[in-house]
Symmetry: C2
Subunit: 109 residues, 2 copies
């Protein structure tokens, strides 16, 4: 159980991986397409995807020669519950969140 917390939080600690997750919010993507915006080798992205898969934050399914990456939002649930104990976080303002996420995406890949 806490193994999940280890791997989930560790996975989220990297800005490249968070940016990948944010990209996958929009839609499933092939590995090559995930890698495209980043200034880094395909192999490096492939490793990041292994980490994200290990944490259960995404799943990967191979169809033909294309491996599709899919967000798995449930994996964050346990971690989210853990976090909520440390304060009373007001409900997310979706407008604020959209701006926040846009800034994240622009700043980090």
């Amino acid at each position: 159980m806490s193994m999940h917390l280890d791997t989930v939080f560790a996975a989220l600690g990297d800005p490249t991986r968070r940016a990948i997750l944010a990209m996958l919010l929009e839609d499933d993507m092939a590995v090559t397409d995930v890698a495209e915006p980043f200034d880094m080798s395909l192999a490096a992205i492939s490793k990041h995807l292994v980490v994200l898969t290990g944490a259960g934050l995404i799943s990967q399914e191979k169809r033909g020669r294309v491996k599709w990456c899919k967000l798995e939002p449930d994996a964050m649930r346990e971690a989210s519950i853990w976090m909520q104990s440390f304060g009373q976080f007001e409900a997310v303002n979706l407008d604020d969140f959209e701006r926040f996420l846009a800034a994240e995406l622009k700043a980090e890949p």
Copy 2:
């Protein structure tokens, strides 16, 4: 802004540090007392506290020769908001959470 996410998530990725945060939920503690339940040197705990402080998850205040550690719940807010986007997490059941936290504390130090 995303620097916070890096340091906060990275800090949370270590079970010792999460256990420390859970301990500090109950009350402020001196460094020596924080270190007591762990099977690891005081210096190692001191380093973990540096990481937690760097992430803003705790603050430390020296009074006399004792350095008090205090939980700073606000630091998790940004990270929590980020996480909430990836799924609809039902409201935390406090009973579940108590049991979860107890298990965390027992399993990890």
